[in-house]
Subunit: 236 residues, 2 copies
């Protein structure tokens, strides 16, 4: 049974899930394209629904390609869309990345990707962050959203291990930051972490740079590298 009507209930749901409010209410989200759908399957996520362009040979309920284009957030050319149940976890160590006020979904997705690359155990989203299950974040994560557990937190004391605030200036250089059980806290590009959040952390660290010119995703990636590289000079 190929889907031939734009009023089909499955298509209606996909359209609704473009909005954060609908995602929050339904606890679902959308992943577009073969690469993301494959990343979900590789990570053991069963789609709640899966549609695929008629004639594409891809798994899923068949749909007329023009209708698929109509619900696609990427425009024409998408061949498959999956809908998944959101999964929210408790923030976990030994290495957790916590974001505060990182409102750009591209940055949230990029940080998920780096968290996966460097083996972080979870990414915790504090107040003011973009939805990791929004379409731009999912896309920017390149599928890492399916592989790295995400958490929602409201306060620093929910975070595991030693809490290390990444700041533009102050604290100690990154190379001296502790390894082991750590949550790395990262703020928004211009505003940085709120002072009360920095104050609630166990220590602050900065990336020694010549120009104040790294965005949140770049800074988080460098810090993840530093915290996971070996050998590290303890306390140096």
């Amino acid at each position: 049974m190929t889907i031939t009507s734009p009023h089909n209930e499955r298509l209606k749901e996909i359209r609704k899930l473009a909005r954060r409010r609908a995602r929050d209410a339904r606890g679902r989200f959308v992943a577009e394209g073969e690469d993301l759908v494959a990343a979900a399957a590789a990570a053991g996520w069963e789609p709640a629904q899966l549609i695929a362009a008629a004639g594409s040979g891809l798994a899923g309920e068949e749909i007329e390609p023009a209708l698929l284009d109509g619900v696609s957030g990427l425009g024409s050319g998408t061949r498959t869309i999956g809908v998944y149940e959101q999964r929210w976890h408790a923030p976990a160590g030994p290495l957790c990345v916590a974001l505060w006020g990182v409102g750009d979904p591209g940055n949230v997705g990029a940080i998920l990707r780096s968290a996966l690359a460097f083996g972080a155990a979870s990414v915790a989203l504090g107040p003011g962050c973009a939805d990791p299950y929004g379409p731009k974040a999912v896309r920017a994560s390149m599928g890492a959203v399916f592989a790295v557990p995400v958490a929602r937190v409201a306060a620093v004391d929910e975070l595991p291990g030693e809490r290390v605030a990444l700041v533009a200036r102050g604290g100690e250089p990154l190379a001296g930051a502790p390894g082991g059980h750590v949550t790395l806290l990262v703020g928004a590009e211009r505003a940085g972490l709120p002072p009360a959040v920095v104050a609630a952390c166990d220590r602050a660290t900065h990336i020694p740079i010549a120009a104040d010119s790294l965005n949140a995703a770049m800074a988080a990636t460098v810090a993840l590298y530093e915290l996971t590289r070996a050998p590290r000079m303890a306390g140096a």
Copy 2:
């Protein structure tokens, strides 16, 4: 004399410079918006021409806002546009970043930004790279294109210092890469550096990561951090 005609020669030039061929032929490029124009001025770049929305109070030849919107690559809301002469330098050390086949202008711009942050002396663009003076690269550089000397190269032997190829697998871990006079070579996200380029380098290095999941700009940024951090464990 406010510019009131879309056929004005200055506007014609700005429109043409959106295309790479025109930029290459004229040796000029465009920077849009107050932040970039200010970054140019701060770095000592005199605009070849500078236009500003009538009534904005900004420096430059006044232009009707609707006409400015018409030549803007960003759409409406731009208040100033500068045209600058391109500057090409010889690749210089002690720390040079060389790109091969990095065709995404956003990545080229982001790498310029990181090169500035970590104090690289120059960024060299090898075959197949996006134009650092294209509008997307200029924007992604956040003004770093005015602060970091850029070079064009055709072969590895034009690059200064010890040549270190950044590869996905193989070579030694990044932490063991040499400091001092180094050119770091970075390839495209999926393809990586061509084997002949890696072979022409003095050594290869990789970022130890769990998932093969860093884009060219992220990888270059991590490597710049590693090559410039102190203290480093020599040869570790």
